[in-house]
């Protein structure tokens, strides 16, 4: 079942490259991928817990290298996110100017790579699938991007290349930290070893910092964040949605799935460093966001900023904080995808997306104003949306962090994080007002609401955000037991 989620988009991408009708095939594959993810989500036996839908195929027996997939609650939520955002990203893509086939193939490959990473229970494939997803991301920005696409593609390539490299070193270092006789790529096995204390505390510090920086670069952890906003600004809409919404979550997922359970002592050792960096994400990047004058950069920076909250939950290292972080990963993925989709629509008439080039659009385009308002409110963490539930759990989790962590440092970081909530209201309301409120600009009359085919994917994303916001337990019921199993007893 999980392999279907990974290989349907890959096969569809191959089919498209070989000449199948691009958009129809892509939409069909995305819908199938989403439906199977949803099916897996629903048929997961919560009472039983642990990894289900497990399957394993030996690749290189000598190294105990297996193609192994399996899903617990955390993976399932991330797979559902992948399915939702992929479907929405393909759906909102109205027309592709050139090489339509390659475009849709790239989009599907990103999705396949992300799904593969979330479903893998083998460290090697976990890493390799993410690499698979990165390459088409660069291609999408370089070939179909707007504005300074080459600079942006260049920067993201170098940067994420570096990040992946550091991550690889960290993973190898982690592999070597396990006593020789027990070494394996099997994540489930590794987790069992770690729970039994077989990964020595003294050997955890170095691999952890490599993982933190490696994953951190991929997640745009301060000060490794400056690749993200220009990349999202110039990427085609579908690529921004998929990367900011899904692929960037790979790093966070990796921290929760690999770094926390396998290197708990390393995590505690470096917690204070992480706190400083994540406050950089929230406060410093928050201020940078306020100063933005273009919507695409503003959204890019705001996405970087919100990573700080997820880091805070992960750093707290307790059930409440990490579960909140996972919920916020899901929520942020949906809300930023919706925002980039809507920004993509706005770009059609105002290619530069400068904020003062708009005004009063809620009058000629009320649906657009309404939908953007919902997505914006979601992203700044208003109650009713999943983002709020996640943030609330993070704040409470961080205020009483796990034993062995400095509560006062965490409380101080939480104070800054709470101030970040004010900052995000400042820039989001400012942007909303500039675009949708006030006197309609002189060309406001030429605006109209998007067509129905564009609306449905946005509605889909917003609806899930609202459902998860009103009844977060629907998702926490999956996340909580999985995360409890990942945290040291």
């Amino acid at each position: 079942m999980l392999s279907l989620i990974i290989f349907i988009p890959i096969l569809a991408a191959l089919g498209i490259l070989l000449g199948a009708p691009a958009r129809k095939t892509a939409l069909g594959a995305a819908a199938a991928q989403f439906l199977i993810s949803a099916l897996a989500f629903l048929s997961y036996d919560k009472a039983k817990g642990a990894f289900q839908f497990v399957s394993s195929t030996p690749i290189v027996a000598d190294w105990k290298l297996n193609y192994a997939v399996g899903a617990d609650g955390l993976s399932l939520v991330m797979l559902l996110l992948t399915g939702l955002v992929t479907l929405a990203a393909v759906w909102v893509t109205q027309q592709v100017e050139k090489r339509e086939n390659l475009f849709y193939a790239c989009v599907l490959l990103i999705s396949a790579g992300a799904a593969g990473a979330f479903a893998s229970t083998d460290l090697f494939f976990f890493y390799a699938f993410h690499e698979l997803a990165l390459i088409p991301t660069f291609l999408l920005i370089g070939l179909w991007g707007t504005g300074e696409r080459f600079t942006a593609a260049w920067k993201i390539t170098i940067y994420l290349g570096l990040g992946s490299f550091v991550l690889l070193i960290g993973l190898i270092d982690l592999y070597l930290a396990v006593p020789e006789a027990l070494r394996t790529f099997d994540l489930i096995e590794l987790q069992r070893l770690a729970a039994n204390g077989l990964i020595p505390a003294a050997a955890q510090s170095r691999p952890y910092i490599f993982l933190l920086i490696g994953f951190g670069i991929l997640i745009s952890l301060f000060p490794f964040h400056s690749w993200a906003p220009p990349a999202y600004a110039s990427a085609p809409t579908a690529a921004s949605m998929l990367h900011a919404g899904v692929l960037k979550k790979f790093g966070l997922y990796g921290l929760i799935r690999v770094a926390l359970p396998l290197l708990p002592d390393g995590a505690k050792e470096w917690a204070n460093v992480l706190l400083i960096l994540l406050v950089g994400n929230i406060l410093y990047v928050g201020f940078v966001t306020i100063a933005q004058k273009k919507l695409d950069l503003l959204l890019g920076y705001s996405s970087v900023m919100h990573m700080g909250y997820i880091f805070l939950g992960i750093a707290a290292f307790n059930l409440v904080g990490v579960s909140g972080a996972a919920l916020l990963m899901f929520a942020h993925g949906l809300s930023i995808a919706a925002l980039f989709a809507l920004a993509g629509f706005l770009r059609e008439k105002n290619p530069l997306l400068t904020l003062d080039g708009f005004g009063g659009l809620a009058k000629p385009a009320p649906w657009l104003g309404f939908a953007f308002g919902l997505a914006a409110f979601a992203s700044i963490g208003l109650p009713g949306f999943a983002n709020f539930a996640g943030e609330m759990a993070i704040f409470f989790g961080a205020f009483k962090p796990a034993a062995g962590l400095s509560a006062s440092n965490f409380q101080l970081a939480t104070v800054f994080a709470l101030w970040g909530v004010v900052i995000s209201a400042v820039y989001m309301l400012r942007a909303y007002r500039a675009i949708f409120l006030g006197e309609p600009g002189k060309d406001a009359a030429t605006w109209a609401d998007p067509a129905k085919t564009f609306r449905w994917p946005v509605i889909l994303l917003l609806a899930v955000l609202l459902i998860a916001g009103f009844v977060p337990s629907l998702f926490l019921a999956y996340l909580q037991p999985s995360i409890e199993a990942l945290l040291p007893k």
């Binding site: 890493y127 660069f138 992946s164 490299f165 201020f287 609330m392 909530v421 400042v426 007002r433």
Partner: protein, 605 residues
């Protein structure tokens, strides 16, 4: 009473808001009907709940027990009962009034949808059985207020006012959430009843409880527009007048007072915090009253008056008299809603004229509006035997018994209130009409005047013991009686009456027959220059920091760090060479190398 009744009260307006937003936005009449039906239903249900027994029920929302637990729960007790009556009672009247007031507005459907959203949020605050849930609805009230202030969003001033209101509230909420977190670390729960149960077993350091209480108070400072976050409320008058009456006079802004009354068992933990709260309240009361004396916009005068009266209530909380605070909240809701709706009737009749100097002589043109407005006016300025007289007296008495300086400031506020309201009253209703619009004004239809009449009756009688004691419930009423018997009651009443006579008399003498303001005090007219101060402060701190941060990001982090780093390492230099060929597929290959490298390292390790 069915235990599910309070849940229906919460759900009815939510359903109405969702229905309107999703399905009936095209139909103005249908949307208005749904919204009015939902509020009438909540009023009826509230009456049932009021007559029924206390109780509470909850469902889990965020459940990490034992570490952390947030239920969505409803509490029915004396405090929430009186607040339910106020919110749904005034709410129903304002909805009905809006049928006329908003009838010509093309966005009537959106208006009623947002009004229902507000009712949902506000009732959530009222019924909340825990801090986290209260915070949720607290924020939602901020959202619905934002939407309603910005109802006429094509006006720049309205869009700006909406943003300002939201941000001021969020700044307050920053402290509020922090306070909740602190209390939670100490109590281990956010549920009010559980907190109250363990309070006496805890011995918290004095500094801790003072800071925690003051942080929670921040929430009230934002929502109830106390100094120094009061600046949003006068600007919020950009919203339609029914909104000003319901949200920015009777209910939302009173939520801060209600919240503090709800957690009075926490406030009591710190005498220092209580004193600070009392002072913030009374200073807001005096300063807002001073500002009100020099405003010319009828709604803004009432807005400053609201600030001032909220200051009284907050002060009463600080004086450990939640009974007096809730009593004044109760009476104020009626007469201030009445005054706003009366002002709305005038603005409606005068085609959106709000300057009192362009009114005049309306007593003859708008009989019903005049009569009802008079009742509200007399109640607000504390005319003996009107409702405001009794409730203000309760607060002044508490001040007299505890802190004479605060009492004097309270008395000064009473004097100023009588003065500026008489100015408003005389200039608006008496003398000659001073504009074309004013000379053609007339009363609105029955759907507009009937709510005014009902509110006028309540403004007169709400202070009488048989009503207020029943509304406030046994405990709060008992508190008022004990205070009354503790001495000073007669003297305070006499002094308050003197302040009322001097203020009203002064206003009458100064403004009778005037066609323009004989007094000019720039400090008051310019609201103590708070707006200018804040504009400078924001430009000097936030915007400056933002600009600096952006430059650092562009030139240092991205400029030097990234490019320097990329030039230094071999791997990226290699990538650069690919880039210079402009061959994107080239670095696709580079990434393949990452995978290859893994295998390489594994084979040769």
């Amino acid at each position: 009473m069915d235990a599910r009744f309070p849940w229906f009260i919460l759900l009815a307006p939510l359903i109405s808001a969702v229905l309107i937003q999703l399905f009936t936005r095209q139909s103005r009449g249908l949307s208005a009907t749904i919204s009015v039906a939902s509020v009438c239903f909540t009023l009826l249900a509230s009456l049932f709940v009021f007559a029924g027994p206390d109780g509470s029920s909850e469902i889990p929302w965020l459940d990490f027990r034992p570490a952390f637990y947030v239920p969505i729960g409803v509490t029915v007790d004396a405090l929430s009962k009186v607040m339910l009556l106020v919110v749904t009672g005034v709410g129903a009247l304002v909805h009905i009034y809006s049928l006329v007031y908003m009838h010509e507005d093309e966005s009537e459907a959106r208006f009623f949808g947002n009004l229902s959203l507000f009712m949902f949020s506000m009732l959530g605050i009222v019924l909340a059985n825990n801090f986290a849930m209260m915070f949720i609805f607290w924020e939602l009230v901020g959202v619905s207020s934002y939407l309603l202030i910005g109802h006429w969003f094509t006006r720049d001033s309205a869009a700006k006012a909406a943003n300002k209101a939201f941000l001021a509230n969020r700044i307050g909420d920053f402290g509020f959430m922090l306070g909740i977190l602190m209390v939670w670390t100490a109590f281990g729960t956010v549920v009010f009843s559980e907190m109250e149960a363990v309070r006496d077993q805890l011995s918290l350091p004095a500094v801790f409880s003072t800071i925690a209480v003051l942080l929670i108070f921040c929430g009230a400072v934002g929502k109830s527009a106390q100094l120094p976050l009061h600046v949003w409320l006068p600007d919020a008058m950009e919203g339609p007048t029914p909104v000003s009456a319901l949200i920015h006079a009777a209910t939302m802004v009173a939520a801060g007072v209600y919240m503090l009354a709800r957690v009075s068992f926490l406030i009591e933990l710190s005498a220092t915090a209580q004193l600070i709260i009392a002072w913030v309240g009374i200073l807001t009361a005096v300063m807002a009253a001073l500002m009100a004396t020099q405003q010319d916009d009828i709604k803004r005068i009432l807005a400053y008056s609201t600030l001032s009266q909220l200051g009284y209530m907050i002060c009463a909380i600080g004086l450990a008299s939640p009974g007096a605070a809730m009593f004044h909240l109760f009476t104020h809701a009626f007469f201030k809603a009445l005054l706003f709706l009366g002002a709305g009737a005038i603005i409606h009749a005068l085609h959106h004229e709000q300057d009192i100097w362009r009114m005049g002589g309306l007593s003859k043109k708008m009989k019903w509006t005049f009569l009802t407005f008079t009742a509200g006016y007399l109640a607000l300025i504390g005319t003996p035997f009107f409702s405001g007289f009794f409730s203000k007296d309760a607060i002044l008495l508490a001040a007299w018994q505890q802190n004479k300086l605060i009492f004097l400031l309270g008395l000064a506020t009473a004097f100023l209130t009588a003065f500026y309201m008489t100015r408003l009253f005389v200039v608006t209703f008496l003398g000659q009409t001073r504009s074309d619009a004013a000379s053609h004004a007339h009363d609105g239809p029955a759907r507009m005047t009937v709510p005014l009449i009902i509110l006028a009756v309540l403004s007169v009688v709400a202070g009488y013991g048989f009503i207020s004691n029943a509304a406030l419930g046994h405990d709060l009423a008992q508190q008022l009686h004990l205070a009354h018997d503790a001495g000073g009651a007669i003297l305070v009443m006499i002094l308050a009456t003197v302040a009322f006579i001097v203020g009203a008399g002064g206003g009458w003498v100064l403004y009778k027959g005037q066609t323009k303001d004989p007094i000019l005090i720039p400090l008051f007219k310019n609201k103590f220059y708070f707006d200018e101060l804040y504009a400078a402060l924001i430009a000097g701190t936030q915007d400056l920091l933002a600009t600096i941060a952006r430059y650092i990001d562009q030139w240092f982090i991205d400029g030097l760090l990234v490019r320097g780093l990329s030039g230094a390492t071999w791997a990226t230099g290699f990538a650069l060479r690919f880039l210079q060929f402009g061959n994107l597929q080239g670095y696709a290959f580079l990434f393949g190398l990452g995978v290859v490298a893994t295998i390489y390292l594994l084979v040769f390790r």
